[in-house]
């Protein structure tokens, strides 16, 4: 087991910068999600850590040991590929045994370890099958067993659940998390699914166009995004743009929006405020005000989407459409075209410097 340090890594393909000065410290035993839209450089970063590709500049260390000159097969990593990459010419057991057998382990040792690994992923009885006789979820488990049976220092997963359907995905998320906890391996998990990143990881790194946009625990990124991109890519956010007042912004129409304590930006600079849709309270004009909800905006409901336990309201105001999510705790509903008042607290508002 070991942590991974990526320091100032850059990698270009021709004129295209796939990775631009990326530095991340992956803690020993942690579960780290690399999140970003397609083409943001997630796979490229994973391939630098694995050793399939080498950075133009920067350093990569695994367990404190610099690995720039170490080939893949000597890095002692485990990798799970998006398409599973199981060897079709071998049985499930032989697939899992591959890493141990190239190392020259004794047959009896291999058999025992393979069985233990297959048991861990709950496929103990399927060792004799061929990969093409398995379902997608089962192949995924075999790929995982094959990657961890060699006791690698780091487990790298490139969108491992991407090819599975929704229900199976959720099962596998739980399963993967359980296995990761059980063996305590440092795990780097690439995904473009924000929900997956939020629910599974201890820390998230958000990539965009080869740059690390923000990095930290899920709650921290969700509650205090540092850019509009981070605010809208991880979760949903209403963005207001205006001029900074030091601890909030003033919109073009003069409305002031206050941000939480600790927000500091030079007054007068361009800035934005982000508010999560579920933090906004919506009421008809007659609604009761809450003392702390000092941000107040009037608007009109333009659309309502009912989703069972919650409803999403789209509220038009001054040429902007705001999104509000309300838990359906009662039966009262607002209808389309109704005038409403939106209220939320400064603590739910994040002040973001214009980029």
């Amino acid at each position: 087991m070991a942590g991974v340090q990526v320091s100032n890594v850059s990698r270009s393909f021709g004129a295209h910068k796939a990775l631009d000065d990326v530095s991340i410290d992956f803690a020993d035993g942690g579960f780290y999600a690399l999140l970003g839209p397609s083409g943001s450089g997630k796979t490229t970063l994973l391939r630098q850590i694995a050793g399939f590709d080498f950075p133009d500049s920067g350093r990569i260390a695994i367990g404190g040991e610099s690995v720039e000159r170490v080939p893949v097969e000597k890095r002692r990593i485990g990798m799970v590929f998006q398409n599973y990459a199981l060897f079709p010419n071998m049985s499930v057991a032989d697939n899992v045994a591959f890493g141990l057998s190239v190392r020259g382990e004794a047959k009896a040792v291999i058999a025992a370890e393979v069985q233990a690994a297959l048991d861990l992923v709950q496929l103990g009885k399927l060792g004799g099958r061929r990969p093409h006789q398995l379902s997608g979820g089962q192949r995924q488990r075999v790929a995982l067993a094959r990657a961890i049976v060699t006791k690698p220092r780091v487990l790298l997963l490139d969108e491992p659940l991407g090819a599975l359907d929704k229900a199976l995905r959720v099962d596998m998320q739980i399963e993967l998390k359980r296995i990761q906890r059980e063996i305590g391996i440092t795990t780097i998990f690439v995904t473009h699914d924000q929900e997956e990143a939020l629910t599974m990881s201890d820390r998230i790194g958000i990539l965009r166009d080869g740059r690390l946009v923000q990095e930290g625990p899920p709650e921290e990124i969700y509650d205090r995004p540092k850019s509009e991109f981070a605010a809208t890519f991880l979760g949903d956010a209403n963005i207001f743009r205006g001029d900074s007042t030091g601890n909030g912004i003033r919109l073009a129409d003069g409305t002031a929006i206050a941000a939480g304590a600790g927000a500091t930006l030079a007054a007068g600079a361009k800035a934005s405020c982000a508010v999560r849709p579920e933090r906004i309270r919506i009421a008809t004009d007659a609604g009761v005000s809450n003392a702390t909800d000092t941000n107040v905006l009037k608007g009109q409901v333009s659309k309502r989407i009912f989703a069972g336990n919650n409803s999403t309201y789209f509220v038009d105001r001054a040429g902007q459409t705001l999104k509000v999510i309300v838990q359906n705790t009662g039966i009262e509903r607002l209808s389309e075209g109704q005038d409403v008042v939106l209220r939320w607290s400064p603590e739910s508002t994040v002040l973001i410097a214009a980029s």
Partner: protein, 287 residues
């Protein structure tokens, strides 16, 4: 059950499409071949006007003269050697084409590999004759480079026959192996290496087993015609180039003993089929 019905109705609808191919195969292969089977049991060619009768003598000739068996064994050895050289040369070439080269350079090299296919067989063989003979291109070039005098005269020798045949047939090996190799996903190679296998171990345990069907197909495509080959042995081998195939050819074009020629070729066909049948379980297991 449902699948069987579906495939049967699929076959019925495919029949009009298959018919021309089967008709052509019947006319082009089956008819002449049955005529040859017929001839191989005759004492004289009916076309020659001489009286003729049925006989097993043509087949008996093979067993009564040890020369034929010797030549057949020599031809089988030739087929084996040429096939092996084609694997040694063709497989790495196919690997480089499929897994190393990309884009324009791949197209260019591919063209070079296919070129022998498009050139006339005789032209190809006579070009080799010019390269291999004493005072030929190879001899002259080597002596121009090397500080000492050497004599290269490979013409009319066993190696010359091998060189000519390998050159003619290696594209088959490159093509069949290329097809299976490029179907192997690169992530399998990467998975192997991430599990601690060196490039060589990945080659041995993953790539070669997965490309075995291409190797087998290439070997069969090469071995069978080489065992019966006569043009390369005759032109490049001269007096050393007497093989089973050249003897058969003699019966047809020189001695004009078609019945014996036909009988000898059917014995060859039978031997080759037996070899392929015997090898197939082994090869299937490997594939």
């Amino acid at each position: 059950m449902a699948a069987a019905t579906a495939s049967r109705s699929g076959l019925r609808s495919a029949l009009p499409l298959l018919a021309p191919a089967y008709l052509w195969l019947t006319v082009a292969i089956f008819l002449p071949l049955s005529a040859m089977v017929f001839f191989s049991f005759m004492t004289e060619l009916p076309l020659s006007g001489k009286p003729w009768a049925f006989t097993l003598g043509n087949y008996a000739a093979f067993f009564s003269q040890s020369l034929y068996l010797t030549l057949l064994l020599a031809s089988l050895r030739l087929g084996l050697e040429v096939t092996l050289w084609c694997i040694v040369i063709g497989y790495p070439a196919a690997y480089v084409l499929a897994k190393v080269l990309k884009g324009r350079s791949r197209e260019a090299i591919f063209l070079l590999v296919i070129l022998p296919f498009w050139s006339n067989g005789l032209v190809r063989i006579f070009s080799w004759a010019m390269v291999l003979r004493e005072g030929g291109i190879l001899d002259t070039a080597l002596n121009a480079v090397l500080p000492f005098k050497i004599n290269i005269d490979l013409m009319y020798s066993y190696p010359a026959v091998i060189i000519g045949l390998v050159h003619s047939y290696v594209p088959y090996m490159v093509l069949t192996c290329y097809l299976t190799l490029q179907a192997i996903d690169d992530s399998l190679i990467e998975a192997g290496r991430s599990l601690g296998a060196s490039r060589l171990q990945v080659l041995k345990r993953v790539i070669i087993p997965l490309s075995m069907p291409g190797l087998v197909a290439g070997a069969a495509l090469i071995f069978v015609p080489v065992v019966g080959s006569f043009m390369e042995p005759r032109i490049l081998g001269g007096r050393t180039g007497t093989f089973y195939g050249t003897v058969i050819e003699d019966q047809f074009v020189a001695v004009f003993n078609w019945p014996l020629g036909a009988a000898l070729s059917f014995i060859l066909l039978a031997v080759v089929l037996v070899i392929l049948a015997a090898a197939s379980p082994v090869l299937k297991r490997a594939a």
